[in-house]
């Protein structure tokens, strides 16, 4: 039975909550660009290079997790019909801890300093711990369960696993942990992070927003019901197989896991092709880049398994990492920001506008006046050039690594600036509305 008395639909957090996450994230991606310019081809020597680890975490925690945490706190009231408790203080603390934590983790990698690592463990452990707690409390209060909410549970569980393994790995950098197989735990950590937390959250959100934004048919009921659970089950099987060195289970699970992502990406592209909306859309273009990349990544993984001569293993690691973290993760999140940020800005302004008497109302900029397609499109082009240079850098690092860094820096700063443009417009109109409200 629904307890309707406790349910209100007006629970959007203040705009400063999500915006602080969205506006800091591109700066971390830009820092990753600077790091790549500074270290150049050495970052492509091995995945264990301290600089490479720093770069990866600037992108995964500094950019991806930063936006995803902010967006989750924003979306829950809409998707789940519940508010996030204590909407201002706790998210501000989480944001601060994630910013400081990412910075100190990166500094720890670059300068191998135990004290900095300890500080990173406390701040990141605290930030993610608080976030997981906050979302758990929120999800428990959800009255009407839907597929997205169920998938969020699975993503949140994956985040918990990722964070615990991450903390364990940092601990092992401070002082060796007895019996810890660092390579194995690292593989578990990154797989739960990318194919669990990031992948499952994107899938859960896609179930809602792909049909919504483009007016496409829904994902099939079977896909929505079975895919997220199946992926989590495969992640678990793969982990157990890896821990107990049962190669048959591991190989089978990882192939099926990749097939699952292939299915999702392919399905999304198919639905998008059937969209009723015909106007070109910047978010759609970013999502298509992300879905094509996932298809390529999963396809390559399967192919490479059957003919390992195809791509040398040393290159394969960088290829898979770049495809999943940057070509899939960054693209999809970047595209989402172009919908969420202008919409929230308009939504908050218009609510205040309508509270004014009619003669005092202001004509507000619509989403595309606040963020013209033209400038978003330029950033998409920068992003695509960055991807091309990055893939070049994997095979010819001495030629392309620094150029890819420059492109990553430029593309991230363009994204940041575009979001700043929207925020500035929001501020200007918010001020105008406040003056109108106080004018006699």
């Amino acid at each position: 039975m629904l307890s309707s008395a406790t349910l209100s639909l007006d629970q959007a957090p203040p705009i400063s909550v999500p915006f602080r996450f969205f506006l800091t994230a591109p700066l971390f991606a830009a820092l990753a660009g600077l790091l790549l310019i500074y270290y150049g081809e050495t970052l492509f020597v091995s995945r264990w290079m301290p600089g490479t680890l720093a770069l990866v975490h600037l992108l995964t925690i500094g950019f991806l997790a930063m936006v995803m945490c902010g967006a989750m706190m924003q979306m829950l009231p809409v998707l789940a019909g519940v508010s996030v408790p204590n909407v201002l203080t706790v998210p501000s603390i989480i944001h601060l801890l994630l910013v400081v934590g990412t910075g100190s983790l990166v500094a720890g990698f670059l300068y191998t300093d135990s004290n900095v690592f300890i500080f990173a463990m406390v701040t990141l452990g605290g930030g993610f711990g608080l976030f997981i707690l906050l979302i758990t409390v929120t999800l428990l209060r959800v009255k009407v369960k839907n597929r997205t909410v169920k998938t969020m549970w699975l993503a949140l569980f994956s985040l918990l696993v990722t964070v615990i393994l991450g903390l364990l790995l940092v601990q092992s950098l401070i002082s060796p942990v007895d019996g810890l197989q660092v390579a194995l735990i690292t593989n578990l950590h990154l797989t739960w992070g990318l194919l669990g937390w990031v992948g499952l959250l994107v899938i859960g959100v896609a179930f809602q927003v792909v049909p919504m934004f483009q007016i496409t048919p829904e994902y099939s009921q079977n896909t929505q019901r079975l895919l997220p659970v199946a992926l989590l089950f495969l992640l678990l099987s793969w982990s157990i197989g890896a821990l107990y060195q049962t190669s048959l289970v591991t190989i089978l699970a990882e192939l099926l896991l990749m097939m699952g992502y292939l299915l999702f990406a392919f399905n999304t592209l198919r639905l998008q092709a059937q969209r009723k909306r015909k106007v070109s859309d910047i978010t759609l273009l970013f999502w298509r880049v992300g879905m094509v990349s996932t298809t390529v990544a999963a396809g390559l993984f399967v192919l490479n398994h059957f003919s390992s001569e195809l791509i040398p293993q040393s290159k394969m690691v960088f290829l898979m990492g770049s495809l999943f973290i940057i070509a899939f993760g960054l693209s999809v999140v970047n595209g989402m920001l172009y919908k969420i940020v202008p919409f929230l800005s308009w939504f908050h302004l218009q609510q205040r506008n309508l509270a004014l008497p009619r003669e005092k109302r202001v004509k507000l900029p619509n989403m595309k006046t606040a963020l013209p397609d033209r400038i978003a499109r330029k950033q998409l082009i920068a992003h695509l050039i960055m991807l091309a240079l990055l893939f070049g850098a994997i095979f010819w690092p001495q030629w392309f690594a620094r150029l890819a860094g420059v492109a990553l820096f430029i593309s991230s700063m363009m994204l940041w600036w575009n979001l700043v443009i929207v925020t500035k417009s929001y501020r200007a109109y918010a001020l105008k509305l406040r003056r109108r409200a106080t004018d006699a």
Partner: protein
């Protein structure tokens, strides 16, 4: 029972399709078609709002005793959308493609997040507390 959820969600879908047709016509600067399609879309939306505001919301409010709860929020979002309809008509009168497409984008976003809240919460709650079939036939009689 899920009579309200089913009927009203299907009407959302119908409005979505009218929206897509209107937006496509505007993007092609086919103003004869666009004006007609925009009118059809806005009429469809207004009819949907009317079914909710005149039949379902009052019934829900008297059955639950909540007048300041979810229905109040839905009414305020209807108001936000009506405001955009006025802007859309003004933009279409001036044949301003960029303005109308920008408004369409904005409208689609608020419309869709509004629909999610209704389809996944309010309608399901209404189906639990109201005689679904009766409410549906009363709404369809409008």
């Amino acid at each position: 029972m899920s009579a309200i959820t089913e009927t009203m969600s299907a009407d959302h879908k119908r409005c979505d399709e009218l929206f897509a047709a209107a937006e496509t016509a505007v993007s092609e600067s086919d103003w004869d078609l666009a004006n007609q399609a925009l009118n059809d879309f806005i009429a469809g939306m207004n009819h949907h709002f009317k079914m909710e505001e005149e039949v379902m919301f009052p019934a829900f409010e008297s059955a639950t005793g909540m007048t300041m709860g979810p229905t109040q929020m839905m009414r305020s979002e209807h108001e936000q959308m009506r405001e955009l309809f006025t802007d859309l008509e003004a933009g279409a009168a001036e044949k301003d493609v960029d303005e109308v497409l920008g408004l369409c984008e904005t409208l689609l976003m608020i419309m869709q997040q509004h629909n999610v809240k209704e389809e996944q919460m309010l309608y399901r709650m209404a189906d639990e507390v109201l005689p679904g079939a009766e409410v549906v036939s009363e709404m369809q009689a409008l």
